[in-house]
């Protein structure tokens, strides 16, 4: 009896790992494809799917590998790639900091204060979550045009700094993690409201801060439509747009394209590795409760 159980347990264990490994392989194959494509020379590109096969060590044609695509990417002046990287870093980081700040303050106000407009405002924020972003593309563009903010970073960053989703998340987080008595105690001690926010409240919702910072950084880093529509001067383009432009109509330099894509996802991967725990904790804490 016990032996049979152990056997069936081993079988399901084995199956589990096999399944997971298969799923992991399917998930990771595009990444391998990406990196190996970025390293292959133009001639070796279509000779095989991953590393070019040949007579070298381990059956790989090492002469078919090169770093020239990365070199061209950063030194070719007409591509403006180095500048695009800086633009993306600037846009994503400034955007995420401003958005997180606004969302945290907004969520704080809605969660921890009793005031007349609290209920209607909360309802308004929740309702706006349903509005699909594309609906606002056209009128938003018209508004930015009227404000004279077209083709500027301000026009790109400012509209998104009020994330309703962020307020919703922070409201949940504040409701769960910020005890009222602590706030009362600080007030009795004579602590000013703003000082209290930064020194007391923010550390209490640190996981959510980290999670939201990363989400918005990610969203801004990968954002393609808005920069494409609002920015027109090529020197202002972020990475996502610069890479999309590498795809030509007649002939595409695939090695260059793949190298550009590697450059665009590497920073994000690193950031995620650092913020992993906070991110997942923060994300789930905002959603699981009703």
């Amino acid at each position: 009896m016990a032996v049979e159980n152990r056997m069936s347990a081993r079988l399901t264990n084995g199956l589990t790992y096999a399944l997971l490994l298969l799923a992991a392989a399917i998930t990771l194959i595009p990444f391998f494809y990406l990196v190996s494509s970025a390293l292959k020379t133009k001639d070796a590109f279509f000779s095989s799917h991953f590393l070019p096969r040949g007579d070298g060590w381990l059956g790989i044609d090492w002469t078919g590998l090169t770093l020239e695509h990365f070199y061209v990417l950063f030194t070719e002046p007409s591509l403006g790639f180095a500048r695009a990287v800086i633009n993306s870093v600037f846009y994503a980081s400034v955007f995420s900091i401003l958005a997180t700040l606004c969302a945290a303050m907004g969520g704080y106000a809605l969660a921890k204060f009793e005031f007349r407009s609290n209920k209607p405002l909360t309802a308004l924020v929740l309702a706006s979550l349903i509005i699909p972003a594309p609906l606002l593309l056209a009128p938003g563009y018209q508004l930015i045009y009227r404000l004279g903010l077209l083709d500027s970073f301000t026009g790109l960053i400012l509209p998104g700094v009020a994330p309703a989703f962020g307020v919703f998340l922070f409201r949940q987080a504040m409701l769960n993690s910020v005890p009222l008595d602590l706030m009362e105690a600080a007030r009795i001690d004579g602590c000013g409201e703003i000082r209290m926010f930064f020194t007391l409240i923010v550390p209490l919702v640190r996981p959510m801060m980290g999670a939201f910072l990363l989400i918005t950084f990610l969203g801004a880093w990968n954002n393609f439509i808005h920069p494409q529509i609002i920015l027109q001067t090529p020197e202002k383009f972020p990475l996502a747009v610069a890479i999309a432009q590498l795809k030509g109509l007649y002939s595409t330099d695939y090695g260059l394209l793949m190298a550009g894509t590697v450059v665009s996802i590497a920073p994000v991967m690193c950031l995620f590795l650092l913020l992993q725990k906070d991110f997942i904790a923060g994300l789930t804490s905002g959603a699981v409760k009703e």
Binding site: T27, P30, A103, M105, A109, P134, P139
Partner: protein
């Protein structure tokens, strides 16, 4: 938890102010403005003409719009229908007690959602190449008599999009399900064991009801997200694709608004989309209430 009453009166308003200011300017005002816009025809934001409900009447008879709507519906429903069981299944496998390397697997499955749609589109454009693409190479080894050219991006556009979308989103939803599974109370599970319930019954009567709220949330947001499909086919096919097979509602909106300059028609399309999504949200609310 009761909110504080001993605060200075200005406090909540000051904290809400930055958010509220930008929210009203860049979300409420354009929302209202979009109703006006939807009743105009424009050639860029400068040149506008009032046309009343003509845009909506034209939409009803616009064959491209219906093609876009059909494509979007098919993608959204097929995507969500395939994705959710996959995410749930993966989460359940990952949730098994005593699994080694759970954190690593979680990271691996989540990584596709980090990379952005431009990356996915570029990668899959190469991988779906009809002759030399990776996908066809794999299929060729698995299926005998597989044709030497399988034009994913010309004839089988929708399956290609669904596959690419799956790769991107399964891991993300899996995280939500994982968290939900971990909050299923162990006592109820034990009680079910004691009652002699088998695995399927445990799943149906204990696990499913307890993750229902999260499942509802994930379904709704996945549907809403899928309905807004645009960048993936746009970059993958360099436009709507052959015979408009990759045309989606948001792509049509973009083409009219930003390639032709008719922001009015684009707004009308946007409102139609919004109404459909509001319909879904209302349905979900009703479904929740019945439970």
């Amino acid at each position: 938890m009761p909110a504080s009453t001993s605060h200075p009166r200005w406090a909540p308003y000051v904290f809400m102010a930055p958010f509220l200011l930008i929210f009203c300017t860049f979300m409420i005002y354009p929302l209202v403005q979009s109703i006006v816009l939807a009743m105009q025809q424009t050639f860029g934001p400068k040149t506008t003409v009032f046309v009343g409900l003509k845009n909506f009447r034209d939409l009803l008879g616009d064959r491209f719009f219906w093609i876009a709507l059909r494509n979007t519906f098919v993608f959204a429903i097929a995507s969500v229908a395939i994705q959710l069981p996959l995410s749930l299944g993966l989460a359940m496998v990952l949730n098994r007690p005593g699994l080694k390397g759970r954190a690593l697997f979680r990271l691996i499955f989540f990584s596709p959602s980090l990379v952005g749609i431009v990356f996915v589109a570029m990668m899959f454009a190469l991988m779906f190449h009809e002759r030399d693409g990776l996908v066809n190479a794999v299929l060729r080894t698995l299926i005998p008599h597989f044709p030497p050219e399988f034009p994913w991006l010309q004839l089988y556009v929708m399956p290609a999009l669904i596959l690419a979308g799956l790769w991107m989103s399964v891991g993300f939803n899996m995280i939500y399900f994982l968290a939900a599974l971990q909050s299923v109370s162990p006592e109820t599970l034990e009680a079910a064991d004691v009652d002699g319930a088998n695995r399927w019954q445990k799943f149906r009567h204990v696990i499913l009801p307890s993750i229902a709220p999260v499942a509802g949330f994930v379904t709704l947001f996945s549907l809403i997200g899928s309905f807004q499909l645009f960048e993936l086919p746009f970059i993958l096919l360099n436009g709507p694709g052959p015979e408009n097979r990759g045309l989606t509602v948001v792509m049509y909106l973009y083409q009219y608004g930003f390639e032709t300059g008719d922001l009015g028609y684009a707004s009308a399309i946007g409102w139609t989309l919004a109404l459909i999504l509001v319909g879904f949200a209302v349905l979900q609310r009703l479904a929740n209430r019945e439970q």
